[in-house]
């Protein structure tokens, strides 16, 4: 299946990329992140990172669907 992945702030700098199309066998958001971390040497998992799918906050354990847009948010720091 195909998904679109977007990186923000620190993650964008670590991957050197703001968005990419990914073809993969499917799985959870956490599994997708692991696969992307294997691809981009600089991308490191953070306990406080968040994930959104199709502009809705999601759980790392949620299963992705074909065509999803997956947003990887490094630890947030508003305010």
């Amino acid at each position: 299946m195909k998904v679109r992945v977007r990186y923000f702030a620190l993650f964008r700098e670590q991957t050197g990329c703001s968005a990419e199309a990914v073809e993969w066998p499917g799985g959870t958001a956490a599994e997708l992140f692991q696969q992307m971390a294997a691809k981009h040497a600089g991308l490191t998992a953070e306990a406080a990172a968040l994930v959104a799918v199709n502009d809705e906050m999601a759980s790392w354990e949620s299963t992705l669907s074909d065509g999803d847009e997956v947003l990887f948010f490094p630890p947030v720091a508003g305010g």
Binding site: F8, A9, L10, E13, E46, A47, A48, L50, A52, D55, E56, M57, L71, F73, P74, P75, V76, A77, G78, G79
Partner: protein
């Protein structure tokens, strides 16, 4: 719009006016300012990156939660985006309510939740010339589960 993102200076007086209500006896306001230092480094200016589609949706949700949970009358939150100078208002929360207890609780809830749930990141530019994405203070410790203990 109860939650909004602004790329120009926040008009505190106008926001305060927007929650004014003759049935309310209490207003509580929180302002987050750009400090001149953070963890020992001298800050020159600061940059906020905001992913608006999710920030606005989640921000509105936080305000709805506060209104429902504490029963306040009016609440709003405005967050800056882009480059900010020292002393500027980075985030503003205004809550009005018949009595003050709920207004304090709701205001604090909104800023605590906003800091841990909204896709907003800050990059500090130091006097030394270096710049750095800022993690929340406690996240540096590995394995810190975010959202359990809201903090500045």
């Amino acid at each position: 719009m109860k939650f909004s993102v602004s790329d120009t200076p926040i008009d505190v007086a106008a926001a305060r006016q927007a929650v004014a209500d003759r049935s309310c006896g209490a207003l509580v306001v929180f302002e987050g300012w750009i400090r001149d230092h953070n963890e020992g480094q001298e800050v020159e200016r600061l940059e906020y990156e905001v992913y608006r589609p999710v920030a606005v949706k989640e921000g509105e949700r936080i305000i709805d939660e506060a209104v429902e949970r504490f029963g306040v009358s009016n609440a709003l939150c405005i967050h800056r985006e882009g480059l900010l100078e020292l002393g500027e208002v980075a985030v503003l929360v205004c809550v009005s309510s018949p009595h003050r207890g709920e207004a304090f609780d709701a205001c604090r809830y909104i800023i605590d939740q906003a800091k841990t749930r909204l896709p907003i990141w800050k990059k500090e530019h130091y006097v030394s010339g270096v710049s750095e994405w800022v993690n929340c203070e406690h996240c540096a410790a590995a394995g810190h589960a975010h959202g359990e203990t809201p903090h500045d």
